[in-house]
């Protein structure tokens, strides 16, 4: 008898974009989704960082820590985002300082209780949720620098058939053979650097096969932009929300992704 499909919604970095989170959760509610998980980086970039944890906690949505939660919960002085270029780090620090200041101690404590990874089996497939990669919370897994032999090694070393990650901000899926899949679920915090204002989340469906669907989510980005300005967040961040093009934290992009980028 064929296996019954189970559908898992995966929400990547939220970056305090609670408008997009509400729209995403509404979309999930209208689909045949069995489980929903968030993948960390609830804060950064956007305004009013307490609103995202409030919503996730109120709805009892499970998920894992990103580097942001790890840093906020442990009182680190920076986000440990993994950038190496000073141009990236300047903006990362502005985001982090704002988010650290505006996140309540109660939410920080809750963030500290979140696991670093979650594992489950569906229809014989071992699924592993991680933030950056299964081995490092702030590793950027870009499509153009994640070759199949390397992804197989990650699956081998971490006993997984399906690895899910976020952190880099761009969604992709590679079926690497032997029934294995690696999926970057994208983020709902900011657009995918493609000149469109929508954001993306992911639905993973597993029956006898594995299917990955990236779902575009339109949301009230004008309202978000207004609130970001009111909070005096950098105009560069607002421009990204309004234009769909990244204006900051671009230096970590590999050649191929950078070529497709406006800035």
């Amino acid at each position: 008898m064929p296996n019954v499909a189970l559908n898992v919604a995966l929400i990547g970095g939220i970056y305090s974009n609670y408008h997009a989170l509400v729209a995403t959760l509404d979309d999930i509610a209208n689909r045949n989704v069995d489980f929903t998980y968030f993948l960390g980086d609830l804060g950064a970039f956007g305004p009013h960082p307490d609103r995202v944890p409030e919503l996730l906690r109120a709805r009892n949505i499970p998920g894992i820590q990103g580097n942001y939660e790890e840093s906020l919960a442990s009182g680190r002085a920076d986000c440990n985002c993994g950038y190496t270029d000073p141009r990236d780090n300047v903006y990362a620090q502005i985001s982090y300082d704002y988010t650290f200041e505006q996140t309540s101690d109660d939410h920080k404590r809750w963030m500290g209780t979140l696991p670093k990874s979650i594992r489950f089996d569906i229809n014989g497939k071992r699924v592993l949720l991680s933030h950056g990669s299964p081995r490092r919370i702030n590793e950027f897994l870009w499509r153009s620098t994640s070759p199949d032999p390397f992804l197989h090694r990650l699956c081998d070393e971490h006993d997984a058939d399906i690895i899910i990650c976020t952190h880099s901000g761009l969604h992709w899926h590679k079926a690497i053979g032997h029934g294995r899949h690696v999926v970057n679920a994208g983020v709902i915090g900011r657009p995918a650097n493609d000149g469109r204002t929508n954001v993306w989340y992911t639905i993973l469906s597993i029956d006898d096969e594995v299917r990955v669907e990236f779902i575009p989510i339109a949301y009230d980005h004008d309202a978000l932009a207004r609130e970001m300005r009111a909070e005096k967040l950098p105009e560069e961040f607002v421009a990204t929300i309004e234009s769909g093009w990244w204006t900051t934290c671009l230096e970590s992009l590999p050649a191929k992704e950078r070529m497709a980028s406006r800035y």
Partner: protein, 285 residues
């Protein structure tokens, strides 16, 4: 017994290829392995050499491949080597930019378009202008690099400009800003920049001076080890597998014939190890 800390091999992510050996069309006064037209300490790698190593790298689940020399584009197999590599994973080439002729750039662009993986070209500059650059790299080099950069821009390949701290103030905020403006002036609207410190070995010893006896590592924390590139990379040359891209003049830095045999700890006994540790250097982009 050892007075030097050993760096563990944590995960082989990066494989370097000394694809042009120590053979270069110029002889920079700061070159840590004294490359020149006549330095044959390490010979060029053939396409067959590289293909054999790529097969090893594939078995070991390597993430990325870097090519250096010497001047990689002196290797006549270079385009074929990159084509083979880009079927397997991402590639980065470190070049002095002098041989980036139109035809080569056109072929590079074809490789970019044909691969799902990133191809990055890193071009070295050692000054803000011809005078300072050529003082390190030789008379007339700047002008030829400018032609190479123009040819890259024509095919819309956006290089990472790599500068060393031989360029006075390159690492400071002002120095970086000045370099970014310079790169923009070449026609690259998304300027990319990497700044590297100098290793006081090879030719650099004559230009400035070598390491002091105290410039050695005595301890190494787990976190330090994970940052050092020798915990995640190895270098292939015509002579075998070396611990890193820097220590090619030291026989003790040759670890093995095969990559797999080289995946073991290494004693950090060299002055250059101190530079990597102090400056947090990675030769990766």
């Amino acid at each position: 017994m050892s007075e030097h800390p050993h760096v563990p091999m944590l995960s082989l992510d990066t494989v370097w290829f000394q694809v042009a050996g120590t053979i270069c069309n110029i002889a920079c006064t700061h070159c840590f392995i004294s490359c020149s037209p006549k330095n044959h300490s390490h010979e060029m790698l053939s396409l067959a050499d590289v293909e054999q190593r790529l097969a090893e790298a594939k078995r070991l689940g390597v993430k990325e491949h870097y090519f250096t020399g010497g001047e990689p584009f002196m290797n006549r197999d270079m385009i074929a080597i990159l084509r083979a590599t880009l079927q397997q994973g991402p590639a980065t080439v470190l070049t002095n930019g002098m041989l980036l002729r139109r035809e080569i750039c056109r072929q590079l662009r074809e490789l970019v378009d044909a691969s799902e993986y990133s191809l990055d070209i890193r071009v070295s500059l050692d000054g803000f202008d011809a005078a300072s650059h050529d003082a390190i790299r030789g008379a007339g080099v700047w002008d030829r690099v400018m032609i190479g950069l123009r040819n890259l821009a024509e095919v819309d390949i956006n290089p990472v400009i790599t500068v060393t701290e031989a360029a006075e103030g390159a690492g400071s905020e002002e120095g970086r800003a000045q370099f970014l403006d310079l790169i923009r002036s070449f026609g690259f609207t998304k300027p990319r920049l990497k700044v590297l410190p100098l290793f006081r070995i090879g030719a650099e010893v004559t230009r400035t001076h070598g390491y002091e006896p105290w410039e050695k590592l005595t301890t190494l924390s787990e976190e330090d080890a994970s940052v050092l590139q020798c915990s995640t990379s190895r270098m292939i040359t015509s002579k075998g597998v070396y611990v890193c891209p820097i220590l090619l003049d030291y026989d003790e830095a040759r670890m093995s014939d095969t990559i797999e045999e080289s995946l073991r700890p290494f004693p950090l006994k060299f002055g250059a190890c101190h530079t990597c540790w102090v400056d947090g250097v990675s030769c990766r982009t």
